[in-house]
Symmetry: C2
Subunit: 368 residues, 2 copies
């Protein structure tokens, strides 16, 4: 079971309030998916992610295939049970990781041969294999195997690449055996508008339960990113969810929502937390800075997360400088709470017709 | 305010049930103090420590003096507020760390000159300074500055060392300005029974609110350790709490309790957790072992900690091999829960007159 419906369209932007229904419950959109690459949002328990209000997260098929193995997870009752998460799960196919992490890899028309970044063992990833892995894991949203060419890539290379991605998407579609979940196609094409259009149209001909925007935020100018997002969205069906892959500073999120994106994932809140960079209502805060050595205030005085209700900047800075792992949890919790609140505010503002105000407020903070 | 009373003496051993009262509440004894060296029990929040049932923990004056500085903590409202722990705190003086961690150090009759292990800066630790630091932190139980000679040490060296420790203890006692907390003397003397007796008697002449057994578990034979504990305890007053420093495998704890020890601290539950070694009712379990790769059971089927209620051995092994920091939390939580239950069982068994049964049961598990 997988359904999506738009509950309300914003009047002055393309933002929309929606709802995804899966076998693991309801996901209100626009939604942010915390990144749980290895079946854990780094340093957090699934319970904490749930308590913050998240109802969807994203794991990675490539990583879980290599370790502990999708068959192991299947035997343990599937990914939900394995990581104790009773809500919706998306898995990225791992196409991006196959190409970025593996030491040697060879792209063929029917898949990729690569060596594991963990132990050098050789593997053959095909569209069929990729679906088999994701079906074993038992997730609600599967992603097609795609090629994400680096930026910059020539138009010629990108054209060939789109052809490959379309072909793989078709094979993924044909390999899908489960009927209780969704498969999303991934639109590529870099910053070449006509290629993104072509990619979108080819995928729509195959037909997917949702469409993702891939290959963005990898080095191109932000203006080109936004143009590419807007340019792609206009060709995608309105009644299907749109997922912007891997991009998600607060400003990116509100702008992409205003263009009509429904789903996001990004390592920024969790990775920044581990680097001591925090999101606040006044902009970013770098916890190691000397100015916080004797600062009794919480990270953000308006924030109601456990970290802000409990600990001072001085204490967090101390933990950070002492390299105490507790700080990873506390800062990650804060940043993800910030994101959960941001998404809630976005949904509420669309519901109540004041999304444009929120959009300009978040854009004016900037500075991340 | 600091009081201690013995509520019940075991009939067939020297074990005793007791109660410490401080400005931060009641501590039932025998008690185990989780180690919070840098003002955090590694990877745990104070709330989790409290939820497990602990009402006392131990921080380290030397480490907090160097970073973030005791004056900073005092300005932030004291150590309790700083780390959000509203129960009793002990601080180790840091004598042991001054001698073990600092790159260069020189012991003088009135203190120690040493270089910081963090930045090489030179510091002068005197008994007076040591008390000043602990009073700034605002803890309930302060420890005297002592010298903990390595094992083995000659009797001649040990005799000189005891003299120094007694002298420092006297200076600590004289430096104490607060009347709302306790100062414990530390009995040294290594495995030389007559020197431990001498050390104990000299400290008792000065007079302290409690007495600690130091310099044990540093390489000597376990038999010598137990002899030294028993040998020391017979000279200590029955109406004062006795604290065995740094030693605390489950077996050590029950044996020392049977000899009359009231308070323990040890890094074993937390450090072992970080190394993937877990305490269970059947003995130790090494989570990385291949045999757990597809084991759906919790670490310990009889355990009710969050980790055991929520996650399988297979999942924990996966996190451990993937070096995911979440596993540090989950395993530490389990091991500390094991200790909290052990201490509760010890107290209940003394209360109900069946401590000897518990003693033989824990001794029979062994194997840590």
């Amino acid at each position: 079971m997988f359904t999506f419906k738009v509950l309300k369209n914003d009047e002055s932007t393309n933002a929309r309030l929606g709802e995804i229904n899966t076998a693991h419950g309801v996901v209100e959109t626009p939604a942010f998916m915390p990144v749980a690459t290895h079946a854990t949002v780094k340093s957090m328990t699934s319970e904490e992610i749930e308590d913050m209000g998240f109802r969807i997260l994203i794991a990675n098929a490539y990583h879980l295939y290599l370790r502990p193995g999708h068959k192991t997870i299947e035997k343990m009752g599937g990914l939900h049970k394995f990581m104790s998460w009773d809500h919706t799960i998306t898995t990225d196919s791992g196409g991006y990781q196959v190409l970025s992490l593996s030491q040697t890899r060879k792209i063929k028309s029917d898949g990729v041969v690569f060596r594991s970044h963990l132990d050098g063992s050789e593997h053959y990833f095909t569209p069929k294999k990729c679906i088999e892995i994701q079906e074993s894991l038992g997730v609600e949203i599967m992603m097609c195997l795609d090629e994400c060419p680096p930026y910059p890539s020539t138009k010629e290379y990108m054209e060939k690449s789109i052809k490959l991605t379309t072909n793989w998407a078709k094979l993924c579609r044909e390999s899908k055996t489960r009927t209780d979940n969704a498969l999303f196609g991934i639109v590529q094409g870099g910053v070449y508008q006509e290629l993104r259009k072509k990619s979108a149209q080819e995928l729509m001909e195959i037909g997917f339960e949702g469409y993702a925007l891939g290959g963005l935020g990898i080095g191109e100018d932000p203006e080109n990113t936004y143009d590419a997002i807007e340019g792609t969205l206009q060709f995608l069906p309105l009644h299907k969810p749109r997922y912007l892959m891997g991009l998600g500073k607060p400003e990116d999120i509100v702008i992409a929502v205003s263009m009509g994106v429904d789903i996001f994932d990004c390592v920024i809140p969790t990775r920044n937390a581990r680097n001591g960079t925090l999101f606040t209502s006044d902009g970013k805060l770098v916890i190691k800075n000397a100015q916080f050595a004797e600062d009794e205030r919480p990270i953000d005085e308006g924030c109601e997360c456990y970290t802000c209700r409990t600990f001072s900047r001085a204490y967090l800075r101390h933990l950070y400088l002492a390299k105490e792992t507790l700080v990873l949890r506390l800062l990650t919790l804060h940043n993800l709470y910030y994101y959960s609140q941001l998404m809630k505010e976005i949904r509420d503002s669309i519901r109540h017709g004041n999304f444009p105000n929120l959009l300009s407020r978040v854009k004016s903070i900037g500075g991340y």
